[in-house]
Symmetry: C2
Subunit: 228 residues, 2 copies
């Protein structure tokens, strides 16, 4: 369970204050499959970064399974970020000097574990996102949508309990997006992974179980009451 | 008019040959408003890069207003790229050390011309894409969709005759995308600019005058016969 309580995030820019998030409270239960929508600049990436412990709020609290994340020792926060939380970045953030397989396996370097198992798992994930024929390519030898799919595979290598995906299908065609969404839905339905997807695709949002809409840094709609 | 004749683009990767484009022939008339669609990896970015003289084909010819682009002196090619062709990159390619206004005005440094006129034009374009309140921000202080809109403004600063846009609305919400598309359609209808948009959004494609579909590096559909 992730709970955000009264989260505010402010940036200062040339004497102005920008309220990227303004008193946001939100609870996401384990195993939920939800989407976050809203206008460009409404605060979606900021919200996801705070959920994923990549950024500290200006004020407010983040509870991970009941524990206040801000009060955890930094080593514990880093462990959650590295092992329990998978993150797909809006800009992919692949390492340009590593090939596709190296990028997907990179998180494993910090967690030990069997290298051959890791390699098998990486190959399976690359197959699932349709990229197993490109394992030796480097990111600059891939199309935008191909890089995005590698970023999705990488986010799942540690079997995270929570997957946060910032527009994970923005760079792919409709058919590939539907296939990726089925895979993400399966993680929630079958593996109990909590999956939160930021998207601009309203059809995609409609096919998740719950949609939270942001506007100017606030939650203005939440379909949480409407479970099917 | 841009004419591609028998364009092939191959990459060599670890002993394999990848046919990014395979014998593509295409004519785009002045003032047309068209979309290019296709699966992730089907060759759309490669096609656009070749139309924009950013990349040379492995074989085949590119004619710009009847002149074979490959036979032009490099200085003339550079002038076409810099002045007649506007390009919106799939990855934006904003300069991280310049602010929004500096990024939009950057192409003007190479063409001389009145600085105050250039500044007025830049502000007008930023207003048109909804970014005039962020002129002092740097790219890393903007959301993904905000960076994308700055890239669109920059592509138009030289009043290009040809605008090539690689997924120009992929990172913005539906409403912002519709507003940007209206602006791009206006360039074609009112200013006679040739506008070619790569997109994964099939609604967006349907609202252009013509759609070319790529699959595995080939043109498999072209609605050019169906003008309204
Ligand atoms: N430098 C390179 N070396 C090897 N292969 C490459 C290179 N650049 C591109 N490719 C390959 O060429 C093919 C076409 O790439 P392109 O970027 O044109 O696709 P695209 O249609 O724009 O895809 P997307 O919708 O994902 O952006 C892809 O299979 C890609 O992996
Ligand atoms: N470092 C920063 N300094 C100043 N303002 C910032 C900074 N980072 C983000 N912002 C602002 O905070 C607001 C929210 O940004 P955020 O990236 O969360 O939006 P978003 O909803 O993800 O947008 P998009 O759909 O375009 O990706 C935006 O107005 C953005 O300009
Ligand atoms: Mg964002
Ligand atoms: Mg592309």
């Amino acid at each position: 369970t992730i709970e955000l309580r009264n989260i505010t995030k402010q940036y200062r820019q040339a004497g102005n204050v920008i309220n990227a998030l303004d008193d946001v409270s939100l609870t996401i239960d384990g195993g939920e499959f939800l989407s976050i929508v809203g206008r460009s600049g409404s605060g979606k990436t900021t919200l996801l970064d705070i959920c994923g412990l990549l950024m500290r709020p200006t004020s407010g609290q983040v509870f991970i399974d009941g524990a206040d994340a801000a009060s955890l020792p930094e080593r514990r926060r880093a462990e959650l970020r590295g092992r329990a939380i998978g993150f797909v970045f809006q800009e992919y953030n692949l390492i340009p000097t590593l090939d596709v397989l190296g990028n997907v396996m990179l998180p494993l370097r910090y967690s030990g574990g069997d290298r051959r198992d890791g390699r098998d798992r990486a190959m399976g994930l690359l197959q699932a996102v349709g990229m197993s024929d490109r394992v030796g390519h480097r990111p600059d030898q891939l199309s935008g949508g191909q890089q995005q799919r590698v970023a999705i595979a990488r986010s799942l290598i540690q079997r995270p309990a929570l997957l946060l995906a910032d527009e994970p299908t923005g760079a792919v065609d409709t058919q590939t997006a539907a296939e990726l969404l089925d895979m993400l839905r399966g993680l929630s339905r079958e593996d109990g992974v909590t999956v939160a997807i930021v998207t601009h695709d309203l059809d995609l949002a409609a096919s998740t179980d719950r949609t939270v809409r942001l506007q100017d840094g606030r939650v203005v709609e939440d379909s949480a009451g409407v479970r099917v």
